[in-house]
Amino acid sequence: MSFIIEAGGPSDRDSIPLATRERNYIPNERRLEQSPAQLRAAVEIWQRERPNARLRSITAVYNCMGLVFASRRTWIEPDHISMILTDDGYSRLDGESEAKIGDIVVYKKNLALTHVGIIIGFDDDLSVGTRKMKVLSKWGANGEYIHRIDDVPVLFGVPAEFWTDRRMKP
């Protein structure tokens, strides 16, 4: 019987050196790529379910946390988000109206964190006078998508928190 002691920890050979600004180690694991058939199936299913989401890339190597906090290099469990946001000096915004390009949106379902993405722009719909945020996010081991903020798999729940690392003029 072989236990991997501290999976995702510094001694795990599937992890990479990754730390917060405060130099706290961020547990992570590089996930192996999925087979082309699996990746194709994933693209097809979300093309059907979320036709307006635009696929940017498809790989299983990193997740949404890896996209936002590790430059697409590895997989980070969402449980570590509090440590990362605190150590990296993020502050929570009062709501969607305060969020700007480059800020982070956190999705929750039944109060549990499910997903995280980066705000990359806004979609104006002049006919109905609405403005929707555009988000770049990685859907688990499936694709990386550019999508409207609420155009995500139902399982992600809803955008619940907005965070920024912006520093204002001193």
């Binding site: 236990f3 999925q34 979300w46 997903h115």
Partner: protein, 177 residues
């Protein structure tokens, strides 16, 4: 949906894609529990008469899947199915799940299955009072009629074809760990 259909669904690319939008282990566990096919499997396992037969079927399925060759460049294509099967067994019979997890833990290129097996293996220790009866009940159905199965009884045919079960050794290793 019949049990065979449910198992085919669990092993399908479609289900794999659906639950692999999970960004973390806890979310993955939530997602698999929302799958109709997984619920059917669990429901069937709730029937006392069916339980042994279905557990045996699931164990055999894990064994068959793990013996399939797959491209070493990629993750095990059955990773999600193995993880689901192992989780289902753990819900019904933790002792049996521990034995299956020890086997799954050796399988290369697994992601969710490795996480489920680690969790199962690090869960509460074997209940020595139930070990023999649990094993016999599942692995040799006729033993379920026996009132006092003993540890001296010959070990049943292993459900995993290439794996020699040694429950005593496994229990000792587990206790040591």
């Amino acid at each position: 949906m019949k049990i065979e259909q449910a198992m085919n669904e669990i092993e399908s690319l479609e289900l794999c894609a659906r639950v692999n939008i999970a960004s973390g282990y806890r979310i993955f566990l939530q997602l698999i529990q929302e799958e109709e096919s997984v619920r059917i499997l669990l429901r069937e396992l709730n029937s006392r008469e069916q339980m042994s037969k279905i557990l045996q079927m699931v164990l055999n399925r894990i064994s068959d899947i793990l013996q399939k060759q797959s491209d070493p460049r990629y993750e095990n294509p059955s990773d999600t199915a193995i993880a689901i099967y192992l989780w289902v067994i753990s819900v019904k019979d933790l002792n049996l799940a521990k034995a299956a997890a020890a086997f799954v833990d050796q399988a290369p290129r697994c992601w969710w299955a490795a996480k489920v097996s680690h969790e199962v293996l690090s869960n509460e220790p074997f209940r020595s009072d139930s070990r023999t009866s649990d094993w016999n009940r599942v692995l040799i159905p006729q033993a379920s009629k026996s009132v006092t199965p003993t540890i001296q009884a010959p070990l049943p045919v292993p459900p995993f074809k290439n794996y020699q079960w040694n429950t005593e050794k496994f229990e000792n290793e587990y206790k040591a760990a």
